[in-house]
Amino acid sequence: MAEHEKITMAQAFNQALRDAMAADESVLMFGEDVGALGGVFRVTDGLTAEFGDARCFDTPLAESGIVGMAVGLAMNGMRPVVEMQFDAFAYPAFEQIVSHVAKMRNRTRGALTMPITIRVPYAGGIGGVEHHCDSSEAYYVHTPGLTVVAPATVADAYTLMREAIASPDPVVVLEPKKLYWSKDEVDLDEAQPGIGRAVVRREGTDATLIAYGTSVPIALEAADAAAAEGRSLQVVDVRSLVPFDDETVCAAVRSTGRAVVVAEAPGFASVSSEIVARVTERCFHHLAAPVRRVTGFDIPYPPPKLEHLHLPSVDRILDAVDTLQWDDV
């Protein structure tokens, strides 16, 4: 690996878009400020220059229009990738996403497919003002017909974006804003597990931390801290929220008998609720304690000065691990 340059997650996304556009003429990238500006996070930097403004272009400022246009382009042979500038600004497109993007294949019995990638820079931890830090994954994962992925590593950013674009189905890619500038030395050609696969990021024997997106690095940090205290925590990176990798996640939980789900979205009726429910349903007799959740509170995303109190932290994760009834063993 030493021969590879360190790149940021934003660069990995950019490279994935570039390679996908080079490989397939039908791939189009569009949205607000994705052309000359290269996106407010620079994820589309240079694409217009390289592929021309017919392939990567700015649209009028209207998210429902952007997603709806993607639906039409997909109906007529294209493979559109759209950027929603921030999580909360995807809401005007909700109708198009739920009633058309997600359902078109089904309502035409496969005659019309929706190979659309919806890029959603998501979540907080960046000191952002209101409406710029929502974790909106629960809305998407609950919608049948959508595939939803949340990469947490630079390598996954590349792989999952390429897979999303190649998918015959619509994929929502949750891009963790906070990790855009995280760096890693990666070989982009090296195959990573695809959509639908969870990955054990760290082996451990005492309890399992289940995380995705922005929460994976925190979970890993917590595992480090726990190790220093003599407790061995396993970390599973879910990566693919839909489809969900029951096999890997449940095998992990069965191996330790204890689990904590970590996610920064409000917990109520969320991805973490689902993980608790399905892990419990499947692993009940292996569990020494109820599966715990460390999530954001059920509140609108807080202001910069308070967000650290809302976000899952190493201490909060370790506290949750402590409640997993160790005395009983």
Binding site: P60, G68, V71, M75, Q96, T108, R109, G145
Partner: protein, 361 residues
């Protein structure tokens, strides 16, 4: 283009008056005799389809039917002005247009029969699935048109909606995207004066819906929606202009929904019978028939041939819809994704098991 050229004419374009006589001095090309005859034939078929569908609802063979009775001239003209490679984007009310594009009537009625899928192959016919969430399909139409433009094809897209749908945000976004990308789309609004129970005055206080075009930099035109000649002329010109790079256009047809919104609706709760009666005299079929007869283009013999053709369509429709197709429970899972997720496989197996246990009982 000087901006005022984007405004519609003061009055809706009319080529045939209520008696079927040509309007003197009317602008626009008058359709050929042949075109008028073909259109009339399609009108008769369209009317028969509406009548037959109504009967099928009463017999419980259709779950619901939003009839285009009285609006057949719009339905027919939209289909007739299109070329083979063009795309149609219909709403739930545009069954007659869809059939006019060559889709089998029984397939066309699949959705309204109560099935969850659109019944026909949208790609083969270049007819999008009928769309229920209002105005959402208009922006899809822009995407289809833009894809064609990017590939250098000269496809035109006919995107239909009602007067009520013009109030939705997606109408605005679609027209604006089309104008900015110069997409070859004809936005065809059938203003039938009602959105279910809500009269036009509650949708808009604009001089006309066609006056919305200029706000996007797009020509708007208005046409008598019960005058098949005017519709063929105006829609035909719009399609030609879009095809030759003139960009999108907005056409508003003034027509009237003669029946309730659907069979499930009770129109007596919100409108008076005399309002409906007033429109009976403006029936599009009366007008085209009078015109053709006045020009000796429609003989009694031809009339009965046309009636027979319409009857054949109705019979096939009835026969087709009388067949009970047993739904397959696998259908629930097959098309949600290209390949079912592990979760759906599990759920499908669960259901299969449940059904087999039930059978065993």
């Amino acid at each position: 283009m000087p901006s005022n050229d984007l405004l519609p004419s003061e009055q809706p374009v009319q080529l045939l008056d209520q008696t079927g006589s040509r309007v003197v001095g009317a602008a626009g090309d008058f359709p050929s005799d042949d075109a008028m005859l073909r259109a009339h034939e399609a009108l008769v078929v369209g009317r028969r389809i509406n009548e037959q569908a109504y009967a099928l609802v009463r017999q419980g063979r259709l779950a619901v039917y939003p009839s285009s009775y009285g609006q057949e001239a719009c339905e027919v003209a939209a289909a007739l002005v299109m070329g083979d490679r063009d795309w149609l984007f219909p709403t739930y009310r545009d069954v007659v247009s869809i059939i006019g594009r060559g889709v089998d009537p029984v397939e066309t009625l699949t959705l309204l029969k109560g099935d969850w899928h659109c019944g026909y192959d949208p790609v083969e016919h270049r007819v999008a699935p009928q769309t229920t969430p209002l105005a959402t399909q208009l922006i899809h139409a822009v995407g289809v048109a833009h894809a064609a433009t990017l590939r250098g094809e000269d496809t035109v897209v006919m995107a239909m909606c009602g007067d009520g749908a013009t109030s939705e945000g997606d109408f605005h976004e679609a027209l604006n995207f089309a104008a900015v990308f110069k997409a070859p789309v004809v936005f065809f609004v059938q203003n039938n004066e009602y959105a279910i129970s809500v009269p036009l005055a509650r949708q808009s206080v604009a001089p006309s819906l066609a006056h919305k075009g200029i706000g996007y930099g797009m020509p708007g035109e208005r046409v008598d929606g019960n005058d098949i000649a005017a519709l063929l002329s105006v829609l035909g010109a719009a399609v030609d202009s879009a095809r030759s790079g003139g960009g999108p256009q907005l056409v508003e047809a003034h027509t009237y929904r003669m029946q309730a919104h659907t069979n499930a609706d009770d129109a007596t709760r919100y409108r008076q019978d005399d309002e409906v009666e007033k429109w009976q005299d403006r029936d599009p079929l009366l007008r085209s028939e009078a015109y053709l007869r006045s020009r000796d283009l429609l003989t009694d013999e031809r009339t009965s041939e046309i009636a027979a053709a319409a009857e054949a369509v109705a019979t096939a429709m009835r026969d087709g819809l009388m067949v009970d197709v047993e739904p397959d429970h696998a259908d629930l899972f097959t098309h949600v994704y290209a390949a079912p997720t592990p979760q759906l496989r599990e759920q499908q197996a669960f259901l299969a098991d449940e059904l087999s246990r039930e059978e065993a009982r």
